[in-house]
Symmetry: C2
Subunit: 410 residues, 2 copies
């Protein structure tokens, strides 16, 4: 009898009817003999309702009190699911963060889990009860309520799975798995049966917003197998696990990710002296702007062109900072472009195969798509292209790397 | 610098705007130099919203899980008020029941407070912070969330005032004090400056629904001076305190209470044998029906008439039980009336004055109001009359006992 941790997000528990549906899924898994720990988010909309109450009383709310308020959302859903399970004659008990207890540091709003007591939960599991835990929350050493930040319920689930040495951590969501790329862009996108933690991290950080990156990192670190499933449709979902799958047919590329939220800034004609990169990126970092891709080319005239990308939300702020820097450095000019996107091919297979990047560039060249920037890691190659080419590029790459489903997306 | 406990009910914190108004009152009291502990209810409507979610998933909800859910209402308001106080530069910190901690027994939904830890609150008070406590909730010895039942926030406030040895416990509500009778019935009803705990208990249990009876009992037991004030209007309110007020002008009668929720049942022609009262009231009690007034008259023919009153909600159930009893006892007949009301005069002054009851009966007789039943205690006289005479009786008594204000209610 395996111990399984299941996590249901806000949409899955968004109404009383949906909570009853979740109860049926949980009760069915229990009848199969599994020991179950279920982690819940707040009902969808509830956290925003609470945030708007907070905005009504305070412009710069204290993080401690925000946590007191927003943590109530999950407290309501765990009680409701426990009641719904009892209606199905399935014994269950709810736990808020302090009852588990999930000990965190004291960084309100984005606390990190330090330790999980599992004695009390284990007693309930041994007594045949389903344990229902409020996601997203914990307590610090002084019994202050803390929250792990938005999406933190995934992290709670993975942390519980690690602490309880669960066989699997199942994340129920509104999609039925992780796809080779966004099915809204490529009709022939296919659900992956398996993907490695590393690949999932690259896919997630590049725009496939299914799982919180932190929870995937966490699962990888503690070797907790993660499975993404649909709350609404039956199916095996996608298993995210370690690389040691002895799968000879491991594809070269697992998926194509893309990100529309990029903006590019170039400083032209900067004197090519040591330390110039830090003199440019220092002020950007101080303004709390995150930089993604960076390219520096040296020209013939002892000057250099320095290009980097930022999130589109921070574009105008970045331009302002860069104007100051350009003056200090006596740069020739600033060039900006926020009509660009990043497209990436991701796959652990490329570790052992040369020529993957070259193939990607050729596919794009064949479509007459100009590459503005390139960045690579061990398991991905990213290119920056004009926004208007996004769909064309993703579809061409999806076909070229043999990811297309035979009969449309499944 | 006195320590004051203030309690604000659901209407007083029903909107973001009202929470800000409460924050201003609290901040003003703090500026006067008082140490403050503030107890809050849930925003009005919130507890009902949560109860309807519960009703959506469960017909017979587990009390433990109901407490998990409904206790979130107060948790939201304490966070919001704390934030609103910080906006006014008034340092404050919120506490849920488990953080205080307010230790209760394990009777979910109507738990009783067993002990209050005040170390942490005292540290905050000493540091100049206002302490904001969630009303209505506590934790049992196993860290399960408990609630004290509806209206339990008053009890929380009194218990905190007792534990912290506060100078006064102020209950802010939507009326500006306790009146000599209901101003909606008697225009000349007047706000009392002072009333004793015993009088307040009689007034409250008889239908002046300002304070929870339990909190008044509790305040009396621990000698915590209670003050009822309006959240919306300035004013001294009504102080509820012990009897040792050396007030020579203590009025004979403090107020007139009435209760529309009575129903009367009479069993006629019961054999007048020992134990007959218990044979009638035993089955009524077993059916969980609470009996209020009881009268037994012995007739000439060795039979007796037995009359008692119950809450109108339980009238039809009581009739059903009594029909069985009548058969067993071979009683002649059952007579019932649910168009009756109870009117009471209340005052500690009557302890030292004879003739108060007689005066009451004469006032009613002068208005040709027939008295159906009489019951007395040390500080009150209650009569049962036909419902249609209610307003007439209350107004006549209010005038006769010199309670009328000179210029209408104030």
């Amino acid at each position: 009898m395996a111990l399984i941790v299941q996590k249901y997000g806000g949409t899955s528990v968004g109404t009383v009817e949906r909570i009853k549906t979740v109860a049926e899924k949980v009760a069915a898994a229990r009848r199969q003999g599994h020991d179950l720990v279920v982690v819940l988010s707040a009902m969808s909309g509830e956290t925003n309702r609470l945030l708007s109450l907070i905005a009504g009383v305070s412009e710069e709310p204290l993080a401690r009190e925000m946590d007191v308020i927003v943590s109530t959302g999950e407290q309501v859903t765990i009680g409701l699911l426990t009641l719904a399970l009892h209606e199905l004659s399935c014994d269950a008990k709810s736990y808020i963060g302090s009852q588990v207890k999930i000990l965190t540091d004291s960084v309100h709003g984005k606390a990190r889990i330090q330790h999980i007591d599992h004695d009390s939960m284990k007693q309930d599991l041994d007594a045949g009860r389903v344990v229902i835990v409020a996601g997203f929350q914990g307590v610090d050493a002084n019994n202050n309520i803390t929250t792990l930040g938005r999406g933190g319920s995934d992290t709670t689930a993975v942390a519980l799975a690690a602490a309880l040495n669960a066989e699997e951590c199942q994340i129920y969501t509104d999609v039925n798995g992780v796809y080779t790329t966004d099915p809204r862009v490529v009709e022939k996108a296919t659900r992956m049966d398996k993907i490695t933690f590393e690949e999932m991290l690259e896919m997630a950080s590049l725009g496939s917003k299914i799982l919180q990156i932190r929870s995937v990192e966490f699962a990888g670190k503690y070797g907790v197998p993660l499975r993404v499933l649909s709350s609404f449709k039956e199916g095996p979902g996608t298993l995210i696990t370690s690389e040691d799958i002895s799968n000879m047919e491991q594809p070269l590329i697992s998926g194509i990710a893309f990100n529309r939220d990029e903006a590019k800034l170039t400083l032209r004609g900067v004197p090519d002296t040591p330390g110039v990169a830090s003199r440019i990126l220092g002020p950007i970092g101080e303004a709390n702007i995150e930089v993604d891709m960076i390219v520096q080319n040296t020209g013939a005239d002892h000057t250099t062109d320095f290009t980097f990308t930022v999130h589109r939300n921070e574009f105008s702020q970045a331009v302002k900072v860069l104007e100051g820097v350009a003056k200090d450095l006596q740069a020739r000019e600033i060039e900006t472009d926020n009509k660009i996107v990043k497209v990436s091919i991701v796959g652990v297979g490329m570790r052992s195969h040369a020529g993957v990047a070259g193939k990607m560039f050729k596919v794009l060249a064949d479509e007459s798509i100009n590459i503005l920037m390139i960045s690579t890691s061990e398991i991905k190659v990213s290119v920056l292209i004009k926004e208007k080419y996004l769909e064309l590029a993703v579809r061409a790459l999806h076909t070229a790397f043999d990811l297309d489903a035979e009969n449309g997306s499944k």
